[in-house]
Amino acid sequence: MTTPSSTSAGLTVDVANARPRFRPWRVVGGTIIAIILLQVVVFLVTNERLEWDVVAQYLFDPTVLSGLAMTIFLTIVGMVIGSVLGTVIAAGQLSDFAPVRWICQLYVGIFRGIPPLVQLIFWFNLAYLVPRITIGVPFGPELYSWSANDLISPLTAAIIGLSLHEGAYMSEIVRSGILAVDPGQRDAAKAMGFSGRQTFMRVVLPQSMRVIIPPTGSQFIALLKGTSLVSVIAMGDLLHSVQVIYNRTYQVVPLLLVAVVWYLFVVTLLTMGQRRIERYFGRGYDRAATTAPRTGSIRTMLTGAVPLPEPAGGRGVGRGRRTTKGDRR
């Protein structure tokens, strides 16, 4: 298939035998990046004020680990409640009954508009505004009644504040996902006699997931970091737990590094999980599942060329892309 062709000069040419091109500016750029990275590493290793021994000492401290557990718990609870709430609000925003649309838009407007820190403090102080929380007939007799002071602990204030805030953001993400689904899909589902709920749950929502997952991953990470806000209402999250320690020992920087290490660790895990979920919901969209070639070697970066695969069983770096070469005409 790849028969050599002749140029006017009579030379036999086959681009498969081409040498990589040398690109001098990439060498310059690469050198600058290497120097900066080296300096950062030297700073991190040699600066004694970072006190890495203290970091190591407190990394697995029970107080820190329980703070980490609370941070993860709040993130998951906030995300689950926020996602369910967001899906309902998104469906409501697309309702054909105008009052439902208005109330859902109002919800998003309010809870996306107020900073989460303000919301947390507000919910924590709810008892001042509403001393008793009552379930009963509107303007009629009451059935159950609780003191707001008993009901609103730092934990419930944190869960309410984070979930409502998250719900507003998730509803916008879910709404964009729903709008991204071809209207023909809804027509087809209705045409087959699916109910509105079946159409939404079986046809629209699974397909919108492909669009919903990536921003939801970012949202998950934002919420994980956002939980650090609850330390202001004395909720024992990761940040609060290291604060408790450094208020006692005055080792502020190393203990903040302990928190940084854990935040980065969990965020990395979440990112990896997100990639897996993206692949799952992307099924049915790629005609043939091909893995992207890894082009990360230093040589590739400098020359901009994907190394040629070695003939048989070679450890060629760019194989995924190369294998199709012979199939094309």
Partner: protein
């Protein structure tokens, strides 16, 4: 065409149906009657209201006037205290289940396998046991020539194959009538024939079909009756044989002649 058709009862009927999109009158008092076992082709220029009509018949669009009946039952509305009112969503879903629809853009569900695309409605909507639905789906796939594609995903198929799956999906729940909304218009020319062949064999099984199409040869050969629409109205209708050879209105005559010229031009361009 045959004598038995004149005796058979009306399955689907539209009486004076009107539909407005804002200021435009998309359907302007359309009458249509489809007898059991008939294949009715709806022809006409773009924007004549053909697609709107079948979408209204399947209640994917609401109508603004007139009435539609399936087996004598009023579609979308019910009698109430001496007048009529819209039916409940459940009632409308029940009525939709008695009809099937094939779309121009296929509209298969890309997140499900071909098999699940076909079995989902019988199982989840009609309550057919999974094993039975599966057997029927495989039989239908065999009939449309795609027995080996049961586990494929729709996007791995060509347009023609997708449309054949969509036809199998519409047939699976045994609907009273199947509506086709320009089923070959989105296909590459070389894929049109395989879909028309499937529709032709489907027509021979005696199922009632309403087909909006630009395929004159198909309408002439397969349809029992043809309906010509323009400007949201039915201009002319009749048995296929006379419809093409002895058009009664000037409008249809010019449409047919322009269309055959267009066909020839198209062929020349391609050649």
């Amino acid at each position: 065409m045959s004598a038995s058709n004149t005796e058979s009862r009306t399955v689907l009927e539209a009486l004076g149906v009107t539909k407005r999109f804002g200021e435009t009158l998309a359907l302007d008092g359309v009458d249509l009657s489809v007898s059991e076992g008939d294949v009715v082709a709806i022809l006409g220029p773009s924007g004549s209201g053909k697609s709107t009509l079948v979408r209204c018949l399947h209640q994917l669009e609401s109508i603004d006037g007139g009435a539609m009946y399936l087996d004598g039952e009023l579609l979308g509305f019910e009698e109430h205290r001496g007048g009529i009112r819209p039916r409940s969503d459940r009632q409308i879903e029940r009525q939709r289940r008695q009809m099937g629809m094939v779309f121009q853009q296929f509209n298969l569900f890309p997140h499900w396998s071909v098999l699940r695309n076909i079995t989902e409605a019988p199982v989840k909507v009609h309550g057919v046991p999974m094993a039975e639905a599966r057997a029927r789906a495989l039989e239908l796939l065999d009939r449309v020539g795609l027995a080996d594609k049961a586990d494929a995903h729709p996007r791995q198929l060509s347009g023609g194959q997708q449309q054949r799956v969509a036809i199998a999906r519409a047939v699976a729940p045994n609907p009273r009538v199947i509506l086709f909304d320009e089923p070959t218009s989105a296909l590459d020319p070389e894929l049109v024939d395989e879909v028309l062949a499937v529709m032709k064999s489907l027509a021979s099984t005696g199922i009632t079909m309403v087909v909006v199409t630009h395929e004159m040869a198909f309408a002439r050969e397969v349809a029992d009756r043809c309906v010509f629409m323009a400007g949201g109205r039915v201009i002319e209708e009749g048995a296929s044989a006379e419809f093409f050879t002895q058009p009664r209105t000037e409008r249809l005559r010019s449409f047919l002649s322009r269309y055959s010229e267009g066909q020839r031009e198209g062929e020349e361009v391609q050649a």
